[in-house]
Subunit: 388 residues, 4 copies
């Protein structure tokens, strides 16, 4: 993979997301033929020893504890941000201003105003050829990229319904302890911001429409949890355990959304169903290599939802992988994301989803929270021209 120009990567954060991104940077040039060759230059974390060990294990050339130094490093051309949402704005804006490309994990920020600042910084940077992308990795599930392709090709027709759910169950147990994800200061919101953000982006991505208004409702089922520090004391959960909302899309579709960490038995059930005048689509991440497609133009006697096994060379991203029927896994979405950002930067194009797209998602989530706090009253989402 070494004939192409190198692109130095600096990764901030080495927990779950950091490990997934590392796997992607390590793999992308071995499988795809991107116009730039990523170099795994620097890994940044707060703890020197832990970060050094992680760098060795994950394959980074060196470790760093100050993200400002990472940004300033000569061997870093792209800053990959895998930290909690409250730190995104400062790191991302600093990196862009330093002329470094940025890949920032979702949610873009914990507030609309922060996201606006980031989107503005991205816009300015973009004029100087400095690129930015938000890490909505599920756009790179081949089945969902295929879903969008079918929508754009008119196979679904006029969209009437969107039905999106992201269901997990990892805090069903009320004695499961507090964590940063349950603290509004750090996480911004709960299920809504963590996983609801994915289905809002995906629904807008697959339909190529945007959400114009919402009515929301949220719940915190377990308001106090053990601190888990051995003190026997309890802390207060300051985010939602689950959120649901009704929505209208720009083309008139009627939609329901739901994000929950209390859907017992559902581990990572990110489900999307779209019904249109010409056909329907259905997806569940728990069977990520499959897309259900109903073509309403088929003869009634043989019509039915097809289970497309999205592993053919004709399918998005699949030409580079294994023969038909040999499925991919969760981590491949990050490899595809790495490929797409390298393609964009190498071809001097702005990658998608942009920070503006990330801001658009934040505005939807903000409207949901506003509605939920105001008797579920219909709340319009400000128009966002950047979505295709």
């Amino acid at each position: 993979m070494s004939d192409t120009e190198p692109l130095g990567i600096g990764l901030v954060g080495h927990a779950f997301m950091g490990a997934a991104h590392s796997q992607a940077w390590r793999t992308v040039g071995r499988v795809f033929a991107p116009p730039l060759s990523p170099r795994m230059s620097v890994l940044c974390g707060r703890d020197a020893d832990g970060t050094a060990a992680a760098a060795r294990r994950l394959g980074w050339a060196r470790a760093e504890t100050d993200w400002r130094k990472l940004i300033a490093s000569e061997d870093v051309d792209l800053v990959d941000i895998c930290t909690p949402g409250d730190t995104h704005p400062e790191i991302a804006i600093a990196a862009l201003e330093a002329g470094k490309h940025v890949l920032c994990e979702k949610p873009l920020a914990n507030s609309v105003s922060s996201a606006e600042a980031m989107a503005e910084a991205a816009l300015r940077a973009n004029e100087r050829g400095v690129r930015s992308m938000v890490g909505f990795n599920y756009r790179r599930v081949p089945a969902l990229a295929l879903a969008r392709r079918l929508v754009l090709a008119g196979r679904i027709g006029k969209i009437r319904h969107v039905r999106a759910q992201y269901l997990q169950d990892f805090i069903v147990d009320p004695e499961s302890p507090m964590m940063w994800r349950l603290d509004r200061e750090r996480a911004g919101s709960g299920a809504l911001g963590d996983i609801g953000t994915h289905i809002v982006d995906l629904a807008q991505f697959v339909t190529a429409e945007h959400i114009t208004g919402v009515s929301g409702l949220t719940s915190t089922f377990v308001p106090e949890r053990p601190l888990g520090d051995g003190s026997g004391r309890y802390g207060t959960v300051t985010v939602d355990d689950a959120a649901a909302f009704l929505a209208r899309f720009s083309g008139g579709a009627l939609a329901t959304f739901e994000a929950s960490r209390f859907a017992t038995g559902r581990k990572n059930a990110m489900r999307l169903e779209i019904n249109g005048s010409a056909g329907s689509l259905a997806f569940d991440f728990e069977s990520m290599n499959e897309l259900s497609f109903h073509d309403h133009g088929e003869d009634a006697s043989t019509a039915g939802f097809r289970r497309i096994l999205v592993t053919e060379p004709e399918h998005p991203y699949l030409h580079a992988w294994w023969p038909p029927g040999h499925g991919l896994g969760y981590e491949h979405t990050f490899t595809h994301q790495a490929r797409d950002v390298l393609e964009a930067i190498g071809n001097d194009q702005p990658p998608a989803p942009s920070f503006a797209d990330g801001l658009a998602v934040q505005r939807v989530l903000d409207a949901v929270e506003h509605s939920a706090a105001n008797s579920s009253t219909w709340t319009e989402v400000p128009a966002h021209p950047a979505i295709p």
Copy 2:
């Protein structure tokens, strides 16, 4: 089946529902051992010839065109109402006042006030031993009766989520002509009242809780349709094509509901998923002999949603039917309904669901429409003590 006392049945209406009820009355005593033997006495319709032909075909002793005469007939002990919703109150109240038991199809009525009048009439009649029941036949799907049994046995624990959908697609084509179901005068409402009514009742039935408030949104995607009378003219659709709402249950659960006739490819997808602290349940009527059940108490390494094939003699209603694995169909729900109403009347008990239960459903639907007309603002549903 003839050793037990006869119960004369008079059926009003002989379209889809009338045919289904006829099949039930004909079958119930051949399969179950109810304490009363139904006699198929009189079939009532508007058109004399058509009704006479239908009576011959469906097995009714005689035909009638005046429902008042049917009610007055000596050989009619129970009036079975299978007409559109706007006619329910007059027929049902007249029958109850004449001392005849009543089985009335859903929705109970087209308005809350009509439903209230019917519920009051039912209450008065009940004191005289005259019984009434509303035809929420899906309560008699064995898988759903089993679902309630599991909830009541504590296998699901504290309920956190209810996710209900009733999806059909029979008017996706904008050139599909007007019909009485699209006329507010006759039908009361559209998808909401026709099929939304089922999932509201079922969700309350299976959870043994009631809905305390809602936020609603409705759509009429195709506002004008051909009259279909050869005139080339179009009529106005005055009901919803689809409705969605958020809801809160009495135990605190967060719920989403959706009813649509525009879910392309979904033929009769009545789906219910319930997530609780101890387990989860999932059902789809398109696979009506199956119930999915997750027991959260299972060891994580072997836990998973079980596909219970609800065809065992231990399952509700199944002792009377075929060996395991030999599934039932849609019409069996009506046979089970007939059995349950005969059991109740024969044992001098009020059957369920009562007209009060039907009223409770109407109040939810009314709140949804009210909310939808008022910016989706949260709308409380009046308390209803009759639901267990």
Copy 3:
């Protein structure tokens, strides 16, 4: 239904099959418009009181304990045989010779020679307009009738593979007692003759080809079982608990068949998969309203097995039933069978499957047993011209 000429039915046997056939005779004229009206004249059983009670419950005009008298009855035009296989030849041949039409449950007989005698009697009777049919009810599952229709329309192309299984688990427990089905004298064979017979017939029916040779293997996993008479003694199982065989079809397809009562957790999993040069089909009776269909001519990027919900008016038998998505059950196969035999007799045509078709199935089963007893050596099945 009474405008058409009546056809008196005499039913021999009132256990599981007798109840299912009764439901069919009672229903067929209420749903379909057959050219003859069945009259439920006589029910015959060995025990006078039990048979009289069954006749009352199931709706037969009178009871009888001597099947010869049933055959001789003036009000019996068709003799419906629902007894164990060892009694089929004598009853069926006597009925045919008496000029009565015959519907005989499968397996046609317990031996090839008996089946030959029956087929010859049927052939002679047919010349006099006396009809006979064997009760392979699964041919009347709408999904399987649709499967055959797709094969005949060329949608599957040249057939390469047939994969058929009939899996049950009702005698997995070694302490489950002896029964007539485990006694070679009464039942002829075990899983092979009881349920293997269905998949052999179905595979030949759906493919419109016949089996030309087999290699077989059988097992009796539990050779002794409690008599279940309180004596504490054990009896010897003289039939197979499970049977498997390889087969070649007349068009060259390579096939596997398996019938078992030891497939733990499979209740009535009658599965058929067919792979051809132009497409594939898959079916499982545990989801009897569905047919999986893969059209190999579809573009690779959207190809996949379609789940056809076989409930559309265009589907076999469905025009007479409920709206799309409102599925049928096991018993409907018998109603469809009753309709088909009434259509054939009323239109003076020989019904299918004929006794010759039943004989053809017996010859396959006989070849399997012969092969299994001879080191699984390939055993040819005599040609049978009657299969289309």
Copy 4:
């Protein structure tokens, strides 16, 4: 990953399998903590330029065209053989004799005698601490490793049935050209040796039993295919397009096996179902993150096949990967294989499956071919003590 002792890897072959193995060697130390650190030293191929390019792309330190030199290299401690089956014996035996560990792709060899020679060489080498393993990667699918664990824990009880299929469709088109896989000289056999080999190994692995005898049948549906060299000429297919066989397991179970490249619409449907006295298991590689498990000890009213999503930290190999519900893909089986061979070598243990296990599989396939060539006559498989 660098604190552990390095192990130099030399890979022979860089097509499909070579790419998959490369991904595994690159990844294993980043995710797991094996006792040895693989070094990607040498890649060997026949074409110098192509091999050099592949080495660059796949991440090997240098390229080589002579496998003997690769074996002799000081920086090669383990020889990984990813070439067609006819070359396995020579390379593997030379490597073992040179004191290099060997990982050899399946099938072990194209004939039983070659496989015997290899197994003997492996046995001798093992005494010197030189290890060998055959690449049955599907043993490392977490769901199948879990299946074996459940069998060994007694959750399935006495095994009654094994039902295994490996279905693909990549040569359904008769104009699809000749390739080495269709040439007996190179490939040994067709579907039987290529994919049948996997299900034979897996069935023995999961059940912890061995196959004692078989009855086989094979087909070559398309005997001549275009050479694809532009000459317009056709070549002769000298292997099976599909193979099926009946089998008996050492514990008495009755089994069916089928391997085909003509199962239209099935892309990589490696399916295994096991029925035992205490429960059942079912798996399909097209949904590789799921295992179906039926516990026969469950109460009949809630029993059913559970869909275990095999993504929990308690599941085999999963502790090292992502959170629950975030599935793995095909390539992960090779990473797990690399981990297991490193663990064995590092801990000075013989890895499994051994060459003796590979030989055992060859003996089964040989018996199938022998039976198929002899009227499907039952053919015993020589006993093999090495299988646990």
